[in-house]
């Protein structure tokens, strides 16, 4: 399996009894993900689609060996829940919760670095290893996942959850499957930015090409370009940057919390320029991703 997910992925869902968590727990189970336990303080003894619910992550871990957690709790509790998962020995935390204060996110990430834990998110719909494992709500119910995501050799990383599905659907419609599809999250600071995941993908034999769905705001794309250039990154990357009109409207917020441009900082024209200089193929229309990826796959 590509990266982050594997045959040994065993998942707990924190906040499993919440409305959205119930829905995506069902979708994960249907997809074949091993959801071994859930946690909701005060709800120990309940079951969600057969998955036992515990009061604490620690007890859930004692009764079921888990290595991965999906955090779906209200924003004010997300830092605590993520700390709890990391303290109990979870190795990969996918934070679905959105609107977590930035100071909390910085602490979550700092603690993760100390513990050697990987965080994906916050504000991430999750990830899919097509036909094998799915984490979080990404892709929706089984039937929808199967229409949009197919197994193959292209890794898709996206700042937008909806456009992760759209991009994979577009590729699948054109006979191009995916090795892994990850919604890294729409926040200004995320645990796994593009530049954090590229090293893993470079070592992944299943991945032949990489697609990035980018947005205005943050220095993430600029840093990714710098990383690609400085390390002479070996795999070819295709990027689409949505929202170039945002460049003309400084100070206005669109979509995700991170989508805001101040002068040149976060502007899509800067991102496109530095990414191209780094050898990344930047396409102007989203649907042009297909031809660009095909070209790369045919060359390799």
């Amino acid at each position: 399996m590509a990266i982050l997910l594997s045959d040994s992925t065993r998942v707990i869902v924190q906040g499993i009894t919440g409305r959205e968590a119930v829905t995506f727990t069902k979708a994960m189970l249907d997809y074949g993900t091993r959801v071994v336990a859930g946690v909701t303080p005060g709800k120990e003894g309940h079951r969600v689609y057969g998955v036992p619910v515990y009061n604490c992550v620690e007890t859930a871990m004692r009764n079921h060996e888990a290595n991965t957690s999906v955090v779906s709790v209200p924003p004010g509790f997300a830092k605590d829940a993520t700390f709890e998962a990391m303290d109990a020995g979870i190795e990969l935390v996918n934070v679905f919760t959105e609107r977590i204060p930035r100071g909390d996110v910085a602490q979550m990430i700092e603690f993760a670095r100390q513990k050697g834990v990987r965080i994906v998110g916050p504000n991430s719909l999750g990830m899919i290893s097509p036909g094998r494992v799915k984490l979080g709500p990404a892709g929706g119910p089984l039937s929808e996942c199967n229409r949009a995501f197919t197994r193959g050799s292209v890794a898709v990383l996206s700042r937008s959850g909806g456009m992760l599905t759209e991009t994979c659907s577009l590729l699948s419609q054109n006979g191009i499957g995916q090795s892994i599809a990850i919604n890294i999250g729409g926040d200004p600071i995320v645990g796994s930015a593009f530049f954090d995941l590229l090293p893993l993908l470079e070592d992944d034999p299943e991945t032949k090409a990489i697609v990035l769905f980018c947005e205005p705001g943050t220095f993430q794309e600029e840093e990714t370009a710098r990383f690609v250039k400085e390390t002479s990154y070996s795999k070819r990357i295709v990027a689409f940057i949505a929202g170039s009109f945002v460049d003309t409207m400084p100070g206005m917020r669109f979509g995700h919390a991170a989508v805001i441009v101040h002068g040149e900082s976060g502007a899509t024209r800067t991102k496109a320029k530095v990414m191209r200089e780094a050898g990344i193929v930047v396409v102007d229309f989203h649907s042009e991703i297909v031809a660009a990826v095909k070209k790369i796959l045919n060359q390799s």
């Binding site: 930035r102 929706g140 909806g162 419609q173 200004p188 947005e215 949505a242 929202g243 206005m252 229309f285």
Partner: protein, 401 residues
């Protein structure tokens, strides 16, 4: 949420960071009275959330109370970046020797708090960071440890301050950090931090932004300074945008809002976040003229989509509507279709002749397409890309059908 200068200074001064003597006024008479109290040269500063107001007549000076009254009268009639100037901060005018910069923010690459200082502060700080990056000193710090005194001391060594003042600068930096972490700020900068001819440091201007997503736990703290939660936009919202925001707020389920007004003829129902950005760009690239930006997603109910569709369809100058979304995983295509049709029917529109186009796919798409077929609305599934759909929408408006 950005704070006004007078709010920022009120808070900073409560942390014993020195600020010029000042008062907020809303009339020219008050400006004159306060100028009299100060009894020397004064500065009048428009209280608006525009950046670079100094270059737009937002900061002026006066030598006498009479002049202050006159200048205040002119300023209170002015508009800066679309914002009416409702109040002025009247301050004693300091005799400035040098302008410095100190600030706290987050670094989205290192993912840590970042402390910044420079011996060259003032309005051209962005220019400084481009031309003299060596003059900008940055330090990433642990969000658990916070800014420690030794680190603040290290940083202020770069400010080239005369004897004893580095200690004062260190204290200011530590207090600024204290405020930044306690108030869930995402930006707190003193620019310029000035060195006066009397050899003292003072915060001449300050920019503070509080994390919107932390307001739930900062209400009380901000309330102590009479600061209430408010919408914070780059320009004042239009009546169209206000109405759209009300539709979105009235029902917590899903999103059918985040509308921004444009002056074109093509009404849009697009979604969700990244999908809206993608579609809007494609429409502009094909030469289309959007009447609005918006986001529809998160499984918004029919009633909410219907209200937003009605608002867009009724906007003066709109000659057609395009519904274009990404492949939905968690929203229902049939809800969007029903919302659109309900709006058109309730507005008494002719569904067969009015220019309308629909491109969505995903959950409940078959049900959605069946209804669209029934009402004779042209629709496209996932085999037509969002770009193609945007191109077709632009063509549709040009042809008028």
């Amino acid at each position: 949420m950005r704070l006004y200068e007078f709010e920022s200074k009120k808070i900073l001064s409560s942390y014993s960071i020195p600020v010029p003597k000042g008062r907020v006024v809303t009339s020219s008479q008050e400006a004159r009275i306060f100028a009299q109290e100060i009894g020397g040269p004064i500065a009048l500063k428009a209280q608006v959330l525009a950046t670079g107001r100094g270059k737009m007549g937002g900061v002026r000076f006066a030598e006498s109370p009479q002049e202050a009254e006159q200048v205040a009268q002119e300023m209170l009639k002015a508009e800066i970046q679309g914002y009416a100037v409702k109040s002025l901060l009247v301050e004693e005018r300091l005799d400035i020797e040098r302008e410095l910069y100190v600030g706290c923010t987050y670094d989205d690459v290192k993912k840590t708090p970042l402390i910044i200082c420079s011996s060259l502060g003032g309005v051209d700080i962005n220019e400084v960071s481009r031309k003299h990056p060596e003059k900008i000193h940055k330090s990433s710090i642990s969000s658990f440890m916070g800014l420690q005194p030794y680190k603040a001391w290290e940083l202020v060594q770069n400010l080239d301050l005369p004897a004893k003042l580095p200690w004062a600068a260190q204290a200011i930096l530590l207090k600024l950090w204290g405020f930044f972490s306690q108030f869930d700020a995402i930006l707190a900068e003193i620019n310029p931090l000035v060195l006066t001819s009397r050899g003292e440091l003072a915060a001449l201007d300050a920019h503070i932004e509080i994390e919107d997503d932390a307001l739930f736990r900062q209400k009380e703290r901000l309330g102590r300074f009479q600061i209430e939660e408010r919408e914070d936009k780059a320009r004042p919202p239009t009546p169209f945008e206000i109405e759209a925001a009300q539709i979105d707020k009235a029902d917590y389920r899903g999103v059918a809002g985040r509308v921004i007004q444009f002056d074109g003829n093509l009404g849009l129902l697009i979604g969700a976040g990244g999908g809206s950005l993608t579609t809007f760009d494609a429409i502009l690239r094909y030469g289309g003229k959007p009447a609005n930006y918006c986001e529809v997603g998160g499984n918004a109910p029919v009633s909410k989509i219907c209200k937003l569709a009605k608002l867009v369809l009724s906007k003066p100058g709109v000659e057609g509507i395009a519904v274009i979304t990404n492949v939905y995983s968690n929203s229902r295509v049939d809800f969007v279709a029903r919302g659109l049709i309900k709006a058109m029917v309730e507005l008494g529109m002719d569904l067969k002749s009015y220019p309308v186009l629909f491109r969505s796919a995903g959950a409940f798409e078959e049900e959605g397409y069946a209804i669209l077929r029934k009402y004779g609305i042209r629709y496209y599934d996932r085999s037509v890309s969002m770009d193609e759909a945007a191109g077709l929408a632009v063509e549709m408006i040009k042809k008028g059908s």
